[in-house]
C-alpha cells in the first residue's frame, strides 16, 4: 500500500510539472497582455515599461524557470489584478469561501440524493419513484444559474425573505447552496436508484434473502454497499468542481469566492493567477482520483490496488 501510494504521489508531481509547462506556454500564446490600451494604442516605450514592470520582457524560458523556482520556495507571485496581496494570500482569502459553499452543497446533495434514490428504488414505479425521477431530471437539465435567477426573483424580489446576495451571514448560504446542490442531488438520486435496482436482482441478494435477512438489512449491508461503486465513480469528480467555486453562482449571489478568478484571470491576462489556479485544479483532481481509488478498496473488497499479489 505504501509503495502504491508513493507511486501515485510521484505521478502527481509529474502531472504538476507537465501541466505547468503546458499552461505556461498556452497562456503566453493568447494574444494581448496585462496592459490596457482600450482607447489608443500604447507607444512602444509605454508598452515596454509595462512589460518590464512585470518581468514579461524576458525570454519565456527564463520567465518559466524563475516562476517555478519561486513556486518551489512557496512563492506563487503577486496577482496583477490585486497587487496588494499575494497569489497565495488571495487564494487563502477566497478559496475557503468557495469550499464552504461547495461542502454545504455536498452535505445537502448527498444524503438527500441517496434518500431520494433509495425511496425511488424501494417503491419502483410508484408515485414516489415518479416524483423522485422528475425532481432528478429537473435538477440535471436546468442549469444552476437559471435556478439561481429564479431563486433571486422569488425569494428576494417577490417575497423579500432574503437579500438578493451578499456574504457573511448564515442566510447568505441558502440560495447559493440550493442552486449548487440541485445537480449533484439529482445525479446521486438517479445513480442510487439505478444501481440499487441492478443489485437487487443479483444472486447474492437472493442468497441473503433466502438466509432470512430482513429487507432493511439486505438494503444496508448488501445492496447499498455494492450500489455505491458506480456512485463513487460519478460523484467523486463533482467534488473538485464544487469546492473550487463557480463563477455563475458566486457572481449572481455576490459570494466573494474563488470562482470568478478562473475567468477574470484569463480575461485580464493575469499570468500568476492563471498558473496558480490551474495548478491547484490539477493537483486537486489528481488527489480526488487517488482518494476515489482508495475508497474502491473499502466498498469493494475485490479491488486490490497493488494487484498480482493473490
Amino acid at each position: 500500500m505504501a509503495r502504491y501510494l508513493f507511486g501515485r504521489l510521484a505521478g502527481i508531481v509529474i502531472v504538476f510539472w507537465i501541466v505547468s509547462v503546458v499552461i505556461f506556454l498556452l497562456m503566453h500564446a493568447i494574444p494581448g497582455g496585462p496592459y490596457n490600451e482600450d482607447k489608443v494604442p500604447l507607444t512602444a516605450e509605454a508598452k515596454a515599461n509595462y512589460l518590464r514592470k512585470y518581468g514579461l520582457d524576458r525570454p519565456l524560458v527564463e520567465q518559466y524557470l524563475l516562476y517555478m523556482g519561486n513556486v518551489l520556495r512557496g512563492d506563487f507571485g503577486v496577482p496583477f489584478q490585486s497587487p496588494t496581496e499575494s497569489v497565495a494570500g488571495l487564494i487563502a482569502r477566497t478559496w475557503p469561501v468557495s469550499a464552504s459553499l461547495g461542502l454545504a452543497a455536498l452535505l445537502v446533495a448527498l444524503p438527500a440524493g441517496l434518500l431520494l434514490g433509495i425511496l425511488a428504488a424501494a417503491r419502483q414505479n410508484s408515485w414516489v419513484d415518479y416524483l423522485a425521477s422528475a425532481t432528478a431530471t429537473l435538477g440535471l437539465t436546468v442549469p444552476n444559474f437559471v435556478v439561481a435567477v429564479w431563486l433571486v426573483l422569488l425569494l428576494a424580489v417577490q417575497l423579500k425573505w432574503l437579500p438578493t446576495g451578499g456574504w457573511g451571514e448564515w442566510y447568505h448560504y441558502i440560495m447559493p447552496v440550493t442552486a449548487l446542490a440541485l445537480a449533484p442531488l439529482a445525479l446521486t438520486a438517479r445513480y442510487t436508484r439505478t444501481s440499487i435496482l441492478e443489485v437487487v436482482r443479483s444472486d447474492y441478494v437472493r442468497t441473503a434473502r433466502s438466509k432470512g435477512l430482513s429487507d432493511r438489512q439486505i438494503l444496508l449491508r448488501h445492496t447499498l454497499r455494492n450500489a455505491m461503486i458506480p456512485l463513487l465513480t460519478i460523484l467523486a469528480p463533482q467534488i473538485p468542481n464544487l469546492i473550487t467555486g463557480t463563477i455563475f453562482i458566486e457572481s449572481i449571489f455576490r459570494v466573494p469566492g474563488l470562482g470568478k478568478f478562473f475567468v477574470s484571470s484569463i480575461l485580464g491576462r493575469d499570468y500568476p493567477m492563471i498558473m496558480a489556479l490551474l495548478l491547484l485544479v490539477a493537483v486537486l483532481w489528481s488527489l480526488v482520483y487517488l482518494i476515489t481509488d482508495l475508497l474502491y478498496t473499502l466498498v469493494d473488497p475485490r479491488v486490490r490496488l497493488e494487484g498480482k499479489k493473490s
Partner: protein, 598 residues
C-alpha cells in the same frame, strides 16, 4: 422494523439527515434579512439639520443616518485601486477618486469650474499655465495640500517604472512627458513644477487652450504617502490619507467599499451625503433585482442594462419615471474599415457601405432609447458638433450603394471578399446593431459578413497590430474632456485606425493649439470633421445615450435639468471630478424604501 433495531451507525446517519432537513426547513422559514432599524425613533429635530461638515440639509432631507448612498460597482474583476493616477483601467468602475480634489471639476453642463485650483492663467506664449491652489486644503493627517503633491503625482504618472496605463493622455501635451515615459529624460524634467507651495505651473509642448478641461483628471496623491507606501497606499484604510470630501473606512475585497465624509475636508466640493457604501454586484443581470429589492440606490445604465431590462423598465410606470437617459461620455459607435488594404482602400466601396446603413430602422428596432442616430462623430451637445450638416452626406440609399459598388468593380457583390466584422467584447445592443448591418450588406449588396464578438484583449491586440488585423469593425469612443481636440484626436495618423489624411491631421492639430477666436477654432474642427465624414473611412452609426436608474429619493440641484433640459446623473459621476458630488442628497421619501444601511 423499529428504529431501535437499526445499527447505531445507521441511526446516526438517519438522525443527521433528519437534522439537516429540519435545518433546511428552518432556514427557508427564517425571516428576511433586514437592516437593523436603529434610528427609527430619532426625534425630528427642530430647525435646519446640518451634516458633519456643517452643510445645511434641505427641508425634505432624510435624517443624517439615512444620508447614505448605496452604489453598485461591477465586481466582475477584483479592482486594484481607487486612484486615477495609479491605474485608470484597474479602478472600480464607479465611486473612485474621492480622496483629493482635482484641479478643476465639471458641472452638469460639462463646464470647467474651479476645484483644488481657485484660478488659472496662461502667459502670452500660450505655453505656460499658472494654477493657484486653494490655500485651505488640508490632508486629514494635518499637513497642508501643496503644489508639491501635484508635482509628485504627475511625475509618478510619467514614471517608466510605474508604467501608468493612461500615460498616453498627457503625451504631446505636457512638455517632456513623452520623453519621460520613454525613459529619455528624468521625470523631474516634465513640464509640471511647483513655483511655491500654492502655485503650480504647467508647460505644454504647443499651445493647449484645452488644458484646464483636460486637468479634470488631476486628483492628487499625497507626496509623503506616495513616497512612504507607494501608489497603492489608498488600497488600505490604515495607510490611506485624504484631502477630499470623503475618507476610506472599509475595503473588504470583492465585497464592499465604505467611505465616510471627511470631517477635516477644507475644500469647496462639500457633500450632503454622509456615507457611501459601494457594493459589488458581480453580474450586470443582478443589478435590476438588487435595485428592485431596494438594496442599491442607483444602476449605471451604460452598457449594463440589457434590452430585456429596458423592456421591463418601459412597461412599468414607476421604473420608467426612475430611468434617466443622458449623454454619458458623448460616446459614438462607428463602423471602421482598414483603408490601407483592398477592398476598403477604394472610396467607392466605402461610400457604398455608408449608403446601406439604415439608421432609422436600427435606432427604432435595436438601439431604441439607448441612442440617437449619428451622421458624424461629434454628438449633438458636444462643442463643435455639426450633426445636421452631415445628415444627407450618406443617406440610406440602397440603389445608389449598388451603383457605387458596381462602379468599384463588384457588381452585385460579385468577387467581393467575405468579411469578418469584429467587435471587442460588446454587449447585446452593439452586437445586434452589427448583426443588422451585416444582414443589410448581404441583402442589399450581396456581401457575406460574419460577425465575430471577440475577447477584449485579443481584439485590441489585433486592432493595434501593424498592419492592423482588424479589417472591419464596429467600435466606440467616448470623451475624456469636453473639447473637440480630444474626440477628433482619435483619428489622427498613427492613432487607433490605419486611416491617414494629412489635411485632417493638420486641421485638427492647428485647431487644437489655436488660441484665437473660439468661433474660428470651432470652424476648423468642423472642417476636419467634414473630411472625416466625406472620406467614409468611418460610418457613424449612433451616439449612445445611456440611461441610469435613480431612486426617487435621490434629489438635489445636480439632478435638476441641465441647460438642455436633461435631468440625470451626469458624467463623470460622483467623484471629485464633478460637482455632482456636492449636489445630491437623500430625501425623506427614502423611508418608504429602505432603512438606514449598516
Amino acid at each position: 422494523m423499529s428504529w431501535s433495531k437499526l445499527p447505531s451507525r445507521t441511526q446516526r446517519t438517519a438522525l443527521l439527515l433528519l437534522v439537516l432537513v429540519a435545518a433546511l426547513l428552518l432556514q427557508a422559514c427564517a425571516p428576511a434579512a433586514t437592516a437593523p432599524d436603529d434610528g427609527q425613533e430619532a426625534a425630528v429635530p427642530a430647525g435646519p439639520v446640518v451634516n458633519t461638515l456643517g452643510k445645511e440639509l434641505p427641508a425634505d432631507a432624510a435624517p443624517l443616518d439615512q444620508q447614505v448612498l448605496v452604489y453598485p460597482y461591477n465586481g466582475w474583476r477584483t479592482f486594484t485601486t481607487i486612484d486615477f493616477f495609479q491605474a485608470v483601467y484597474e479602478r472600480a468602475d464607479s465611486l473612485t477618486d474621492l480622496l483629493s480634489d482635482a484641479l478643476v471639476r465639471l458641472d452638469k453642463d460639462f463646464q470647467v469650474n474651479p476645484g483644488a485650483a481657485t484660478e488659472w492663467s496662461v502667459d502670452e506664449s500660450g505655453l505656460v499655465w499658472t494654477f493657484k491652489l486653494d490655500p485651505n486644503l488640508m490632508w486629514n493627517d494635518g499637513t497642508p495640500v501643496t503644489a508639491d503633491d501635484y508635482v509628485a503625482t504627475f511625475r509618478y504618472g510619467a514614471d517608466p517604472e510605474h508604467a501608468w496605463d493612461f500615460s498616453w493622455y498627457y503625451q504631446g501635451v505636457i512638455r517632456n512627458w513623452t520623453q519621460a515615459v520613454a525613459g529619455e529624460v528624468p521625470v523631474e524634467e516634465i513640464g509640471v513644477r511647483a513655483v511655491d507651495a500654492q502655485t503650480l505651473e504647467f508647460t505644454t509642448e504647443a499651445p493647449a487652450p484645452f488644458l484646464p478641461a483636460m486637468l479634470v483628471y488631476s486628483a492628487t496623491f499625497q507626496k509623503a504617502a506616495l513616497e512612504a507606501h507607494g501608489g497603492l497606499y489608498n488600497s488600505n484604510p490604515e495607510t490611506s490619507v485624504s484631502a477630499g470630501p470623503y475618507q476610506l473606512v472599509e475595503w473588504t475585497k470583492d465585497q464592499r467599499l465604505v467611505y465616510a465624509i471627511n470631517p477635516d475636508y477644507k475644500g469647496t466640493n462639500v457633500p450632503y451625503i454622509e456615507r457611501i457604501v459601494v457594493v459589488n454586484i458581480g453580474q450586470p443581470s443582478q443589478l435590476m433585482p438588487a435595485y428592485e429589492a431596494n438594496e442599491i440606490d442607483f444602476v449605471n445604465g451604460g452598457g449594463t442594462l440589457s434590452p430585456a431590462d429596458l423592456e421591463i423598465i418601459g412597461a412599468d410606470p414607476d421604473l420608467n419615471a426612475q430611468y434617466h437617459p443622458h449623454y454619458g461620455d458623448f460616446r459614438t459607435y462607428y463602423f471602421a474599415f482598414d483603408t490601407s488594404q483592398p477592398p476598403f482602400d477604394n472610396l467607392l466601396v466605402r461610400q457604398a457601405f455608408a449608403h446601406v446603413l439604415d439608421r432609422e430602422t436600427i435606432l427604432a428596432n435595436v438601439v431604441k432609447r439607448q441612442g440617437m442616430a449619428a451622421y458624424s462623430f461629434l454628438m449633438p451637445g458636444f462643442p463643435a458638433a455639426n450633426s445636421s450638416a452631415h445628415q444627407e452626406t450618406y443617406a440610406f440609399n440602397v440603389e445608389g450603394a449598388q451603383q457605387l459598388l458596381a462602379e468599384a468593380g463588384y457588381p452585385n457583390g460579385e468577387g467581393f471578399p467575405k468579411l469578418t466584422l469584429k467587435l471587442r467584447a460588446e454587449g447585446p445592443t452593439p452586437l445586434a446593431v452589427a448583426q443588422a448591418y451585416a444582414a443589410a450588406l448581404k441583402e442589399s449588396l450581396g456581401i457575406e459578413v460574419e460577425v465575430n464578438n471577440m475577447d477584449f484583449k485579443a481584439f485590441m491586440d489585433e486592432l493595434n497590430a501593424k498592419p492592423t488585423g482588424v479589417q472591419f469593425t464596429l467600435i466606440s469612443y467616448g470623451m475624456d474632456y469636453l473639447d473637440p481636440s480630444n474626440m477628433l484626436g482619435v483619428f489622427l495618423s498613427g492613432g487607433r485606425h490605419p486611416w491617414s489624411n494629412a489635411e485632417y491631421d493638420s486641421l485638427v492639430r492647428d485647431a487644437s493649439s489655436f488660441t484665437g477666436d473660439p468661433a474660428e477654432r470651432v470652424q476648423m474642427f468642423q472642417e476636419a470633421e467634414t473630411i472625416l465624414v466625406n472620406d467614409a473611412a468611418f460610418v457613424f452609426a449612433y451616439h449612445q445615450t445611456p440611461g441610469d436608474l435613480i431612486k426617487p429619493y435621490l434629489k438635489g440641484p445636480a439632478l435638476e435639468p441641465d441647460a438642455n433640459g436633461v435631468a440625470a446623473w451626469h458624467w463623470p459621476g460622483f467623484s471629485s471630478f464633478s460637482n455632482l458630488l456636492s449636489g445630491v442628497y437623500i430625501s425623506n421619501e427614502v423611508s418608504n424604501y429602505r432603512q438606514a444601511p449598516d
